[in-house]
Amino acid sequence: MAETQSYRREVTVKSEHGLHIRPCTVLAQSAMKFQSRIHLNKPGMQVDAKSILDLMTLAAAPGAVLELEVDGPDAAEAIEHLAALFDSGFAPTPAEAKPSAAVSVG
């Protein structure tokens, strides 16, 4: 079994409208690509980042500071990838803007 790693990092919601349905879709879609368990924490609340429904219940506004918590074999990669998503404000990745480009990603 792969070695389990744990990472935590503070992230800021930079998308224009906060964690709306669209950023939540992108975030959950990305999180699901990793094996690790991925959570987002805010005081008194923890949600599963692979569940779009859960993410939405955060109702995180623009500027909100959240804690990203990742445990699992690919945690290091996951936390980098997801933190970068937060930093980019969940701009559509080339893969989404143009489905045909999907194969070239990575």
């Binding site: 349905i21 959950a28 429904l53």
Partner: protein, 582 residues
């Protein structure tokens, strides 16, 4: 005992235990399942999720192709919501551990999340509850849709109550066990109502909300002649209705004996009674009832029956089947008469901004905007026409330009078939429905170019009076006897006569014996009617003389309100056939 009133759409009386169909209003029929059914129920839930994911995926692709990726985003969000593992786990847990039915569990979990969204104190997230309700609806529709199919596995007779029945559901009703039905929505001219008539099931539609007052298994009475549904009747009422059920049966037997008799007036003028059909399978039944042809074959079900557009072969086979029942008599095929809102799949999405379907892209307009679709149907018609007296008719023609265009396309198809050396008939008569007031007003101009008229009274009345019969709030304003309608009819008949083209009436109005003397008196000699009304109409015809009919028509045209016209006609009918329908 509780009495509910709706619109009587198919005569007869039925008494028996009730079966309530859920769906749409989302009354969940069964909240719990037995423990040994849990695995089966979970896999039923999973296939429902798979099915709706596929549906959403299709929408996503379509939106992305037609509208752009940004519009497709909402569907990818829906897809993520539907696939949400946590959500799926929670629902499955309720089914497994609490023996909830999938419907109940889905509704429970989705509503909990929706409530949480609404409680977040942020308008945006509160509004997202709508997305959850939408998904819940899709899932329930699918889950209950499966339940609905159990209708085909009935083992004892029931009366069916539902919020709504789609035409295909109605057509699929098992006549062995379904003795009658009643629905909350629907109008006299809805396809469901028309089908109920064809199936000869007593039916009442447009009752309004009433399903909450009934529980499954209760005894009810459906009186399809008077439009009443009686829930939990008392002994007196039951006795009265049992007697009327018997009377109705013997009345039907008497009509049966009329089937072989000629349809002509006392003074020997033949009146042609053809049948209206929706499915090719109905052609044979129509022939048995004594129909002298098919005056209106509504081809819509070819489009509605499956999710794909029908192929030329689908059309061809259907038309040939009808011709087998009527090898030498006229069979009039009406080209596609659907609104884009009713079209399956892709076409519907092409008109996202459609505000009022009745006044938008439908019928001939849809055909003229989608020539591939139109030509496919026309090719099949021309090809099938070699096997009998097939004729083609365009619906909803509102201007001469439209008719000319349609006729030109038909000409193109003729050329194509000629070039390809495919057998077909070239001289197929081309007619039109007169159902938009503009066509009735300009009947004289149309009659110069058209081979025959068929007056579609359902739409003609709807458009002339501006009333949707399916809307219970205004349904009572829909009156076939309105003097404006009589005047339009008179104009159309006069124009047809002047230009020596045939004119028939194919709307619901012609299936009502009350209007028959009036229409014959106006000079109409051909009717296309719901097949099972043929014997009854024949009885009226055989008791009538042309002189008498003309006197009735002339008098009816002197009244200035619908109520007076209809009261007069009802009185005359009683005189002609003192013991008409009970």
């Amino acid at each position: 005992m509780l009495i509910k009133r709706g619109i009587a759409v198919s005569p007869g009386v039925a008494i028996g235990p009730v079966l309530v169909l859920g769906a749409e209003s989302f009354r969940i029929p069964q909240r719990f399942v037995s423990i040994d059914a849990v695995d089966a129920e979970i896999s039923r839930f999973r296939s429902a999720v798979e099915a709706i994911c596929q549906e959403i995926g299709d929408n996503e692709r379509l939106a992305s192709e037609r509208l752009g990726a940004q519009y497709a985003a909402i569907f990818s969000a829906h897809l993520m919501l539907a696939r949400d593992e946590k959500l799926v786990r929670e629902i499955e847990l309720l089914i497994r551990e609490k023996s909830f039915s999938p419907e109940f569990a889905v509704s429970r979990v989705f509503r909990q999340y929706a409530k949480r969204f609404q409680a977040l104190g942020d308008q945006y997230f509160a509004d997202r509850a709508v997305d959850l309700y939408d998904l819940e609806k899709r899932l329930l529709k699918y889950l209950l849709g499966e339940k609905r199919e159990e209708l085909s596995h009935l083992t004892s007779p029931v009366l069916l109550l539902a919020h709504n029945l789609t035409p295909s559901e109605t057509a699929a009703l098992d006549k062995q066990f379904i003795m009658g039905f009643a629905t909350e929505v629907g109008g006299e001219t809805s396809h469901t109502a028309i089908l109920a008539g064809a199936l000869e099931l007593p039916a009442v539609v447009g009752i309004g909300k009433f399903l909450a007052d009934v529980s499954g298994g209760e005894t009810i009475i459906i009186d399809g002649s008077h439009g009443t549904v009686i829930i939990d009747p008392d002994e007196d009422t039951l006795g009265k209705y049992r007697a009327s059920e018997e009377r109705y049966k013997s009345f039907s037997k008497r009509l049966e004996s009329l089937r072989q008799l000629k349809s002509e007036t006392q003074d020997g003028v033949p009146i042609t009674l053809c049948g209206n059909i929706e499915f090719p399978q109905e052609a044979m039944t129509a022939a048995h009832r004594g129909a002298e042809g098919i005056g209106l074959y509504r081809t819509e079900f070819l489009y509605l029956e499956s999710q794909r557009e029908p192929t030329e072969e689908d059309h061809y086979q259907a038309y040939c089947e009808v011709l087998q029942a009527f090898p030498t008599q006229p069979v009039i095929i009406r080209t596609l008469d659907l609104g884009s809102d009713k079209m399956p799949g892709a076409l519907k999405a092409e008109y996202p901004d459609e505000v009022n379907p009745a006044l938008s892209v439908r019928s001939i307009r849809l055909s003229l905007q989608h020539l591939d679709l139109f030509k496919t149907q026309l090719r099949a018609i021309l090809r099938a026409a070699v096997h009998g007296d097939l004729r083609v008719m365009f619906p909803l023609v509102s201007t001469l330009m439209e008719f000319r265009q349609a006729r030109m396309i038909l000409g193109d198809v003729v050329e194509d078939l000629e070039e390809q050396g495919i057998p077909f008939r070239k001289d197929v008569p081309v007619g039109m429905m007169v159902e938009v007031p503009s066509a009735a007003v300009l009947a004289d101009e149309f009659a110069r170019e058209v081979d025959f008229f068929s007056i579609g009274t359902n739409d003609l009345i709807q458009y002339t009076l501006g009333v949707d019969r399916g809307d219970p709030a205004v349904a009572s304003l829909y009156r076939a006897g309105d003097p404006s309608i009589l005047r339009l009819l008179r104009g159309v008949v006069t124009a047809a006569r002047k230009h020596q083209i045939s004119v028939s009436v194919c709307g619901q109005m012609s299936s009502d014996p009350m209007f028959l003397p009036l229409l014959i008196g106006m000079g109409i000699r051909q009717f296309s009617v719901t097949p099972q009304t043929i014997p009854e109409l024949k009885e009226v015809i055989r008791n009538l003389t042309i002189a008498k009919a003309e006197r009735i028509a002339n008098r009816a045209e002197t009244f200035d309100i619908a109520r007076d016209v209809e009261t007069f006609l009802r009185g005359e009918l009683k005189k002609i056939c003192p013991d008409s329908a009970p």
